[in-house]
C-alpha cells in the first residue's frame, strides 16, 4: 500500500478506507475462485500422474500386442485393445452419418413448428438417457428382439444411439456458425437447398463437424455399461497381429470392460496390471481429445470470413 502511494503522488481519486476495503474484497473474491479452480484442476494432474507412475512399468509394445494369459494375470491386452477399436469404429460408422444428416435436417430443413420442436426435445432427452438404460435397450432391442445375440454389431448399435445426440448437437452448432447471408446469396442465384448445403454450408462447417465426431471417439472408447450386456465378454483369445481378428458377429473384449474385470473379478492380479490398463485407456482417450481440441483451435485461426 505504501508503495502505491509513492508511485501515485497526490492522486485525484485517492485511496480512502472505503476503496481500500473494496480492493481487498476484490482480491479475496478472486483468490477464492482461483482456489476453487485449483481444486478441480490439480486432482486431474495428480490422478493422471499417479496412474502413469504405477502402471508405466508394465507398458511395452509386447503388452499392447499380446493376448492376456494366465487367467488374465499375465500377458498383454491385445484382444481388449483391438475390441475397443472395433467397437469405436463400427459405432461411429453408424452414428456419424445419421447424426450429421439429422443435424442438417434440424438446422437447414426443419421449419419452426410443433413437430420439429418435439424432434429437438427428443434429441435433448436422448442425450440425457443414462448409459445403463442404453444397455438395457441394447439388450432388449438388438440382442434379443433383433436376434443379433451378444455381438460387436449389437454393442456398436447401442453405442451409436448413445453418441448420436452429441454428434447432432455439435454438428448443429457447426452448421449454425455458417452465416445465414451465405445461404441467402446462394438461394438468390437460383441454387437449390441441397446445392447450397453441399457446396457452401458443409464445406465450411466440416471441420467443426469432424471435431465433434472425434470427441465422440474418446467417449465411446471409455464406455463400459452399454457394452457389458450387448457384446463385450470377460475373456477372449484372438489371433495376435491380425487387425481383422474380430468379425461383426463376434463377441469381443474391450479395454474399459477389461479394466473392470481385472479390478473387481480377478484375484491376485499383479498390482501394476490395472494401472497399466487404465493408463492405456486414459492415454488413448486424452490424446484423441487433445487432437480434437488442437484441430479446432487451428481451424479457428484460419477462418474464411
Amino acid at each position: 500500500m505504501t508503495m502505491h502511494a509513492q508511485i501515485q503522488p497526490a492522486p485525484q481519486f485517492g485511496e480512502t478506507p472505503f476503496t481500500r476495503k473494496k480492493r481487498r474484497n476484490e482480491k479475496i473474491a478472486q483468490g477464492i475462485f482461483a482456489v476453487m479452480v485449483a481444486c478441480i484442476v490439480i486432482p486431474l494432474f495428480l490422478i493422471v500422474g499417479y496412474l502413469i507412475k504405477e502402471g508405466v512399468s508394465l507398458i511395452s509394445w509386447e503388452f499392447l500386442t499380446t493376448n492376456p494369459t494366465g487367467g488374465m494375470r499375465k500377458g498383454g491386452i491385445w484382444s481388449a485393445l483391438l475390441g475397443t477399436f472395433w467397437l469405436v469404429g463400427t459405432s461411429l460408422c453408424i452414428s456419424a452419418p445419421i447424426g450429421v444428416l439429422a443435424a442438417v435436417y434440424l438446422n437447414e430443413y426443419a421449419k419452426d413448428n410443433w413437430f420439429n420442436r418435439v424432434v429437438n426435445l427428443a434429441v435433448v432427452n436422448l442425450a440425457g438417457v443414462p448409459s445403463i438404460v442404453h444397455a438395457l435397450f441394447g439388450l432388449g432391442a438388438f440382442v434379443l428382439f433383433a436376434g443379433m445375440g451378444r455381438s460387436i454389431i449389437a454393442a456398436s448399435l447401442t453405442l451409436a444411439i448413445m453418441t448420436m445426440p452429441v454428434i447432432i448437437a455439435s454438428t448443429k452448432e457447426a452448421l449454425a456458425a455458417v452465416p445465414r447471408q451465405f445461404r441467402e446469396a446462394c438461394w438468390n442465384v437460383g441454387a437449390t437447398k441441397w446445392q447450397t448445403i453441399w457446396r457452401i454450408v458443409l464445406p465450411n462447417s466440416i471441420s467443426g463437424i469432424l471435431t465433434g465426431v472425434i470427441l465422440q471417439v474418446s467417449r465411446t472408447a471409455g464406455e463400459t455399461a452399454p457394452i457389458m450386456f450387448t457384446g463385450a465378454v470377460f475373456y477372449r483369445k484372438i489371433e495376435e497381429g491380425n487387425l481383422f481378428a474380430y468379425g461383426l458377429g463376434d463377441q469381443c473384449m474391450a479395454l474399459s470392460m477389461h479394466l473392470f474385470t481385472v479390478t473387481t473379478q480377478v484375484t491376485n492380479a499383479p498390482h501394476a496390471l490395472p494401472f497399466a490398463i487404465a493408463t492405456v485407456l486414459l492415454a488413448f482417450v486424452l490424446l484423441v481429445n487433445l487432437t480434437a481440441i488442437l484441430f479446432r483451435s487451428w481451424l479457428r485461426s484460419r477462418k474464411k470470413w
Binding site: F182, E184, A185, N188, V189
Partner: protein, 252 residues
C-alpha cells in the same frame, strides 16, 4: 402495348400477425431503371424478396396478391430456381461466398448444370468485366472472395448476380457499405446494363434514384405514396406533399 416486365397486383405481406405491405400494385417496363425510395421499414426489401420468392425461406410469412414476370404468375411457376436465375439480386451488405473469386462467379452457372470449363471461364471474365472488377482481380482469381475489400466484394456480388444472365436486376441499397467513388463506378456500370435488362434500384440515397432512374416509386409504411417520372417526384410539385418532404429531407 408491350407486356410489362414485372406486374405486381394487390400484393400483401405479413410477418406473423403484422402486415408490412398493404396491397400495392405497380408495373415495371422492360429495360427501365425503376428507383424505389423510402425510409427504413417501409417494405422495400420485403418487396424484392417477394419477387424472387426467397420470402418462402422466412418462417411465418404470409403473402397474397399476384406477381407476374413477363405475364406469368410467379406463384404458379414450377421451376422456382429458374425464376430466381432470371432475377439477379444484390443485397445491401456485400456477401462474398467463402469460395475463390472464380468459384464465386461460377457458382450459379454450375448450380444450373453448366460444366464446360472454357465456357465457364469466358462467362466469369465477362461478368467480372461487366461489374468493373476484372482488372483488379484478374491475377488472383484463386484467392478467397471473402478477403476482398467491401467495395470489391460488392462488385463481386454484382458479378455473381450477372453470372446467371438475369433479365431483371434487383439492387437493394447496394451502396450502403461502400465508398462514394466505388458507388459512382457501379452507377456507370448500371447505365451500361440497362441496355440488356430491367433494373430495380432500391436506394436509401434519394439522389441516386434521381441520377439513374427514369421512374421512381416512393414507399412508406408498406404503401406506395407516389409512383411517377423521376423529375415529377423530385420537382417542385409532386402529387403528394409527403414525397416533397421526404426527397427534400424534411422527414425520413
Amino acid at each position: 402495348m408491350v407486356t410489362p416486365k414485372v406486374q405486381v397486383e394487390n400484393l400483401r405481406l405479413s410477418y406473423g400477425s403484422k402486415e408490412v405491405i398493404h396491397g400495392i400494385s405497380f408495373d415495371i417496363e422492360p429495360n427501365e431503371i425503376l428507383g424505389i425510395i423510402g425510409p427504413a421499414q417501409s417494405g422495400k426489401t420485403s418487396l424484392l424478396r417477394c419477387i424472387n420468392r426467397t420470402m418462402e425461406f422466412t418462417a411465418g410469412t404470409k403473402m397474397s396478391g399476384t406477381i407476374r414476370v413477363d405475364g406469368e404468375d410467379t406463384a404458379k411457376m414450377r421451376d422456382v430456381y429458374g425464376l430466381r436465375r432470371r432475377i439477379g439480386m444484390v443485397a445491401p451488405l456485400p456477401v462474398g461466398l467463402p469460395l475463390s473469386i472464380y468459384d464465386n462467379v461460377a457458382f450459379a452457372p454450375r448450380a444450373a448444370g453448366m460444366n464446360n470449363k472454357s465456357e465457364l471461364s469466358a462467362l466469369v471474365e465477362k461478368c467480372l468485366r461487366q461489374a468493373a472488377l476484372w482488372d483488379e482481380v484478374k491475377d488472383r482469381l484463386d484467392s478467397l472472395g471473402t478477403k476482398l475489400s467491401g467495395g470489391q466484394q460488392q462488385r463481386l456480388t454484382i458479378a455473381r448476380a450477372l453470372s446467371h444472365s438475369p433479365e431483371i436486376l434487383c439492387l437493394d441499397e447496394f451502396s450502403i457499405a461502400i465508398d462514394p467513388v466505388t458507388t459512382m463506378r457501379i452507377e456507370d456500370v448500371l447505365k451500361e446494363l440497362k441496355k440488356d435488362m430491367t433494373i430495380i434500384l432500391v436506394t436509401n440515397l434519394v439522389q441516386q434514384a434521381r441520377r439513374l432512374a427514369a421512374r421512381t416509386m416512393f414507399m412508406w409504411n408498406g404503401e406506395i405514396i407516389e409512383l411517377g417520372p423521376t423529375e415529377q417526384l423530385f420537382g417542385d410539385n409532386p402529387k403528394d406533399k409527403r414525397t416533397h418532404d421526404y426527397v427534400n429531407g424534411i422527414f425520413g
